[in-house]
Amino acid sequence: MEKRIREELLALFKSKLSRPMEMYLETCARCGICTEACHAYASMPLPKYTPAYRAEVVRRIYKNYFRWQGKTVPKAGECKKLDETIIDELKEAAYSCTGCRRCMVYCPFGIDTQQIMSIAKLLLVGAHAEPELLSLLADVSISKGESIDSFKEGFLEGVKNLEEEVVEKWRHEAGRTPIPTEVVGAEILYVALAGAHSIIPAAAIFNAAKENWTLSFFEAVNFGAFVGDPTKTKIIMDRIINEAKRLKVKEVCICECGTAFRVMSQLSGSRPFKVSSITEVHSRYLKEGRIRLDKSKFNVPITYHDPCQIARNGGVIDEPRYILSHLTDNFIEMSQDPKYNWCCGGGGGLVALGEETLDFRMKSAKVKAEQISKTGAAILATACENCHTQLSNLNEHYKLGMNVQFLSSLVSDALAK
């Protein structure tokens, strides 16, 4: 590796060395408690799938360049040089970790492997060795932000075509647009995904609750975060922040997308609006009596998969259960404590990489498939696009025979007139 490239990569590494990060890199006691906390290791017990091993790939570079060991006794001090040979190790570590942080809740020191993997991902970006597809997706989001005015007309026409289906789910009321856009002063800016399935149920529920809402022109998901590029993450996030500011909305509601919610709620800093997940908003509507659900709609057992970025990492745990209590009397918990729920195995950009990662995703989430199967439920609900895709893949691969559904779809189908 050329000296110049190594220096650039080390500058990127240094940019990530916050106090918490230094603590994570300094602290591992090799107790091994994290080992079986990782779904990948629990499904495929190879040392390279333990959180401590993954962290060690980064930690050894840290020791070599940022600690005394590298300067004095690199061989004895478990140090590793930053060169071409370590790129594959960084890639294997970073992209076998879904960033679910289950290991973190088990670690007695609270070491955040996902954060350590963010260094690995950034080094891969710096070395142009990241998955090309994730960078392309991030660049598409950025390009859209730069040229949105030229795309608006087509988007509005596409949205118009969905209105009929929205009205089928909830009656149209005079003077209201089924899918409003560009509403200055709206209470809520709803940020969906590209798919109609992310817009239609949400619109019906907003309309049933008589919400003053407006649909964003942008997709919620942040591929900059998936690929681990902080600059792109910020540019993609700022498109939505600027739209929310321009429209003077009070709340930004993020669709069922875990990464989108975590990025907007935890990385957007100080902002003049509240950030909520759509699950929180639906729970609030039920509490306030703004919507009612017909419990007779689903007469089969329902279980719920907590998306890691929304539940364990985002704190939205009670709200989906409150919604489910209005949907069914036959709810079956998947794990004793949702905070320790297994990851679906598709996070961290793995689902976005599609068939390229399918074999690993299926093998590494065997424990998840077993957990789902044990519930005996007929409907498997979740509140994240990524999880939904991965769970649907698991359903097919392991022949679970479940009906995988978005929680918001169940809510919109059960709206009581």
Binding site: V140, F155, G158, A194, C257
Partner: protein
Amino acid sequence: MNETIKADKVMDLKGLPCPMPVVKVSKGIKEVAVGQVIEAISTDPGALTDFPAWAKTSGNQILKTEQSGKEIHFFIKRLS
């Protein structure tokens, strides 16, 4: 002008989860020769902003976009 474009490859992307339409069209365009055209069919309104942005980013050209009921047909020419 209502020009008819002959597609060398047709891709049905209807109802796919995020971000599969863009992922699949990124792979699909590499399966035709430079100068050839794919027709990508979607029902997602977001495709109307995603695909032009993808074409710009990836250096390909959207020759025509047709909306037919709920279906959106993109005719995309591989440029590089």
